[in-house]
Amino acid sequence: MSVPATTVIPPLTDELDIVIPTIRNLDFLEQWRSFFQPYHLIIVQDGDPTKTIRVPQGFDYELYNRNDINRILGPKASCISFKDSACRCFGFLVSKKKYIFTIDDDCFVAKDPSGQEINALAQHIHNLLSPATPFFFNTLYDPFRDGADFVRGYPFSLREGVTTAISHGLWLNIPDYDAPTQLVKPLERNSRYVDAVLTIPKGTLFPMCGMNLGFHRELIGPAMYFGLMGDGQPIGRYDDMWAGWCAKVICDHLGLGVKTGLPYIWHSKASNPFVNLKKEYKGIYWQEEIIPFFQGVALPKECTTPQKCYIELSKLVKEKLGPIDPYFEKLGDAMVTWIDAWNELNPSADAAPVKKTDAAPKKK
């Protein structure tokens, strides 16, 4: 495990929620029990709301199905995807905690090369609670890690680093490939344990995978909208990608850090590449225009909060990507709806009191 040089004390049990989207069951939680049980879970049940999702005994959780989402958000529920794990961002919306860890229900505990089980949650916490270094690349990776430091030539004025907003973990076994790559290499498994955490430099975009992800909800939550995917939408499997591009641009603008690398989880389920191809198809060629768009985004100085940044981004999406397909007009609108919902459910301390949502969620 990657441990910071200065001890990180609390495990954040009162400050972190674990968000899990699911459509089948949560049996995988049994394997994670010793690592997750102290924490509160927010389960977002996708698909048929009449189905009962069994949660293993002993976990403290809230569960939301589609009916709950519709009830809580009313007309704003249109921004939350259906029949796609993108619905997980509803969990980010309703959480009241400072940090979020989200994981897919086909992700299990991995082992490091010494055979020890990896506490992915603890690693994400270490990553989030130690600084990132986006302005200059450290060739020995995370300088705050035990056994490492900044190398010769690293400017001293940059050694304090910035707050880490996102911690992006990786996967052993089934790698997160797109459909074409899965079709060409159906048997490839990721068996390489790269023992590093590193900061993704400012100005560099990356493909953010939502399978094993931690983030600072207060600092970047509003940017972690997973878009319009799945049922009724022309695209799927680009939800986390979309959130990652938006969030990275905003992090770069606000001077926040994004880390990638450890922890690893064990990804067990290989999805059907033909099904994936149908979902990703439009995304694969839209992406060729989306990336230059994000690379060229310049947010104005006045955007000092993630919400303001996101609203500005939504305007740019409609303006610049709208011509590609009407989907982007819808997406831009949904981004605004998301922020409205965010502000309603997460009023800032000095704002006027917001009307409370009526019914309580299912709780254990």
């Binding site: 020995l140 790698p175 490939y177 990703e280 990336i291």
Partner: protein, 348 residues
Amino acid sequence: MSQVTIDSNEVDIVIAAFHSDLTSFMEEWRPIFSRFHLIIVEDPDLKEELKIPKGFDFDVYTKSDIDKLAGSSNAAMFSGYSCRYFGYLVSKRKYIISIDDDCSPAKDNNGDLVDIVTQHITNLRTPATPFFFNTLYDPYRKGADFVRGYPFGLRSGVTCVLSCGLWLNLADYDAPTQSLKPELRNSRYVDAVLTVPKNTLMPMSGINLAFDREMVGPALLPALKLAKEGKFRWETIEDIWCGLVVKAVCDHLDLGVKTGLPYVSRNERGSAIDSLKKEWEGVKLMEELVPFFQSLKLSPEAVTAESCVTEIAAAVKKGLGRSHTELANVADSMVAWLKIWKEVRSRV
């Protein structure tokens, strides 16, 4: 490692010798170096003759060779750690691999000796991907690929021209860091090669690197000499300067820089605390150099490494040179280097 065939005729290994007896160093590297040509440049301050074991194909260059080629006015450019640039200058091959003479072969996580030549050449012969970050690191590596969300239009990558390796045991820390943590040793073998993204600067360490001399040779140059530069890495910054220049050139010409594997093992030498007694010139300078390079813009007419370096030298003279006299000299050295480089090329 991907299967890249290495033509030994394409490779020169350049070593700067600070110790006259290279026997143990060469014996350690024999399994890896024996089939390659070596260029050994003797530190001009070294008085004794070099002792080199049998069985190697090598050429030695000494102070007199440097004086003859560079002339008395420019010979100082190749003193101390910068003498290895003379090796880069006289090489006629495509790839250069350069390591410090206080390094031994490292062992990987399986206990096997790390073949730095194969790894560096593999890095240089497979594309780099500076425009978008691949979360599974080098996508060309066996067992890896581009991940979901990586734009297809960017998957052919660009030519990699610089491969920066790492160090186990004594990592390349500066003197203040090593003094504060005298016990700190790097024992972590990170099994990755990755591209340093475009517009991201990094500190290039001269201890273990390789480059494509045909593409960027002019940009790996000796220029920034600290007033109190000594015979320990802690007392130099010439490679850091060089790395900033090379990265600026690469970013402008859409060429790639990789970092990570291979590792060498760096041996104990010298005292960081003793090096602290010297002025922290280098440390202070970095504070100015980084913002300068971050804002540097080269013109569209600069389409070769040489023309890029010319523009950078002019920018240094105009910008940094105004406030720092030592940096005005750096600009002059860069121009002088390019002249010698051109001259040597024209004789080939």
